[in-house]
């Protein structure tokens, strides 16, 4: 049974958004802003640190394993360079 939520899921507590894209765009904007002014190596470290923090927050190993598999499958299948 799959436990990983792959539906759009961004939301801001206590705030309603008229446009479904708004909370996701807010997140993406914050993420891009966090990378501003960093070297490539620093950016990679930022991504890794963020990943580990979020993984700890999720906590559920079943979910994390599913996410790891899904993420890797796409990379291997398309054969794209990172």
């Amino acid at each position: 049974m799959t436990k990983l939520n792959t539906q759009p899921n961004f939301a801001a507590a206590g705030r309603r958004s008229r446009h479904a894209y708004s909370p996701g765009d807010d997140f993406y904007d914050a993420l891009i802003a966090a990378h501003r002014g960093l070297t490539d190596a620093q950016s990679e470290l930022l991504n890794a640190r963020l990943l580990l923090l979020l993984a700890n927050h999720v906590g559920d190993l079943d979910v994390l394993r599913e996410a790891i598999e899904l993420a890797r499958a796409g990379v291997v299948a398309t054969g794209k360079a990172p």
Partner: protein, 563 residues
């Protein structure tokens, strides 16, 4: 190149001021006869103002410019008397499809619900729109449209603005009480006044090709916007295809900052790109001719203030955005919509000049929202760093696989009206309401049946001054109290929104909410009242009528001091 359009030439006329002994004092001058200046002029004339419009040219927009006119802008055009013409000539569409390589990763519907007169978006070449606006403006004797009159200097004063104007017959001076600067991104008024416009230039170039097709890729009623990341016909960059009137199609190719604009404009090179784009979509049997080719860059920036004393900046002179999102012309027309009713009250002495500061505040908020959304779209389409590109490509690769990825794909968030939620003109709710029709929101349309029995729409019953929507039929005492508001200096015109079967009394303005959609969208119950501003935004709402509350809300919405 082929042309599907013949440019009109508007006649120059000698200015009467050239023969006058002393410079004339006029209430309102608008600089710039583009879509925004003309919309402002028509609005001003409809509200009873005399207006002079100066334009240095004698025709409409040349070449590829604005294409997409959003629902809210169409509703404003309805109020200005040209909505039907724009919609009839334009191409209606609601669905946008986004592709990554050959796969569709995301689609949106601009109008997911029925029961609105106007569609999410209509595409129309800017020259057609400008021509319709000019022809509408020419119907008003109050509009003095001066072609080939070039503003050469602006001298702002405490009680007006001195304008020096060059014409074929010589130079003359106008003293305007108020000046609207609708003179575009390179605004001469802004430069004359030494004002800055702050923001950033994006380091990317885009090729526009407007082409006339000799076949139809898809039927008119199934028109859609197509956007590609990394398409097979244009690897590594993005591309866009839009349909305009007369089977003219807009193709837009991202080129990158290093591209040579002159080389890219070579017609053979452009033809190769267009051919590949058509072939790749299965339209190999459709031929084309080029109508227009240009290479553009863009900026995202705004002036810090849109009001400088008696000079008001609207449209591109005040703010510029990237084209992804159709937020340029749309936000400009909405600026005019917001400004002109306020200016009318101020010119009439019915409201203090400080009411115009709310134009700066409200439309400044809208400009910020437009800049935010168009900058985000641009950041996604044109990642500026390696890290940003990796994340963007990760979103696209996930979008191929899961809905969560699709939600983050940003190929342009298209123009929607700003909810002026923070405006000082709003009266905050004192009772609970569901839905989106909060004070500051533009009133949603709904199908209604008029007193004459004809099927129509709610919005055209508003917009001429303040309107009080009263849901359900009031008793005689309340009815008389509501009617009294229409006789006050700043009139509030009543409109009863009745449920099907509810009887109306003769002599009163009413509509039948035939599908109950007006009530549903306003979360209205019998007795609910909505105060609608002249620009069709909600000023206040209540669960029951209270004349003192309506007067206070009207005072607040017109910048009167509130106790």
């Amino acid at each position: 190149m082929l042309s599907t359009y013949t440019w009109p030439r508007y006649a120059y006329r000698r200015a009467p001021e050239l023969s006058a002994a002393t410079p004339r004092r006029v209430p309102l001058v608008i600089v710039g006869a583009g879509p925004v200046g003309l919309a402002a002029a028509i609005d001003a004339a409809q509200r009873g103002l005399q207006v002079i419009v100066l334009d240095e040219d004698n025709t409409v927009s040349i070449g590829s410019r604005g294409v997409c006119y959003a629902k809210r802008t169409l509703e404003i055009f309805d109020r200005l008397g040209l909505g039907d013409r724009v919609v009839a000539k334009g191409v209606t569409w609601n669905v946008g499809r986004t592709f990554h390589g050959e796969r569709e990763v995301f689609s949106f519907n601009l109008l997911p619900e029925a029961g609105h007169q106007r569609p999410g978006m209509v595409n129309l070449q800017q020259y057609h729109l400008e021509q319709f606006l000019v022809e509408r403006a020419m119907q008003f004797p109050a509009i003095d449209l001066r072609w080939q009159h070039k503003l050469v200097s602006v001298t702002p004063g405490a009680d007006g603005v001195q304008l020096d104007v060059d014409s074929a017959d010589g130079r003359y001076t106008l003293h305007a009480d108020w000046l609207i600067a609708a003179d575009g991104s390179k605004s001469g008024v802004r430069r004359q006044m030494g004002l800055d416009v702050e923001g950033k230039v994006f380091q990317d170039r885009f090729l526009i090709a407007d082409v006339v097709l000799d076949g139809e890729p898809f039927a008119l009623e199934r028109t859609e916007r197509r956007f590609w990341f990394d398409p097979p016909f244009h690897r590594g960059e993005s591309a866009l295809m839009h349909r305009q009137a007369d089977n003219v199609w807009r193709l837009d190719f991202q080129l990158g900052w290093e591209a040579d604009p002159e080389a890219e404009k070579n017609p053979e090179r452009v033809r190769t790109r267009v051919r590949a784009a058509l072939d790749s979509q299965g339209f190999a049997d459709i031929g084309f001719e080029l109508e227009w080719v240009s290479v553009y860059t863009f900026q995202c920036r705004r002036m810090a203030k849109f009001r400088h004393g008696r000079v008001l900046f609207v449209g591109d002179s005040a703010h510029q955005v990237s084209p992804f999102g159709a937020r340029g012309a749309n936000s400009g027309v909405q600026d005019a919509d917001n400004l002109v009713w306020k200016l009318k009250l101020v010119i009439d002495g019915a409201a203090p000049a400080s009411l115009l500061d709310s134009y700066d505040h409200e439309r400044g908020q809208a400009a910020d929202e437009n800049l935010l959304n168009s900058t985000r779209s641009t950041d996604f389409m044109t990642p500026k760093t390696r890290a940003a590109r990796v994340l963007r490509d990760a979103v696209l690769s996930l979008a191929d696989e899961v809905p969560a990825g699709r939600a983050l794909v940003n190929s342009g968030r298209l123009s929607v009206p700003t909810v002026l939620a923070d405006s000082a003109l709003n009266t905050p709710d004192s009772e609970a309401f569901d839905g989106w029709m909060v004070p500051g929101a533009p009133l949603d349309d709904a199908p209604v049946r008029g007193a004459d029995g004809r099927e129509g729409w709610l919005l055209p019953h508003t917009g001429n001054g303040f309107v009080l929507l009263r849901f359900g039929r009031p008793d005689a005492i309340e009815s008389a109290a509501i009617e009294a508001l229409a006789r006050e200096p700043i009139a509030v015109h009543p409109l009863w929104v009745l449920a099907p079967g509810e009887p109306a009394a003769a002599g009163q303005a009413w509509v039948c909410d035939r599908d109950g959609l007006a009530a549903r969208r306003c979360d209205a119950r019998p007795g609910t009242c909505y105060l609608i501003r002249p620009d069709q935004h909600v000023a206040a709402r209540w669960r029951r009528f209270d004349a003192a509350a309506v007067r206070a809300a009207r005072g607040r919405a017109t910048g009167q001091a509130t106790a």
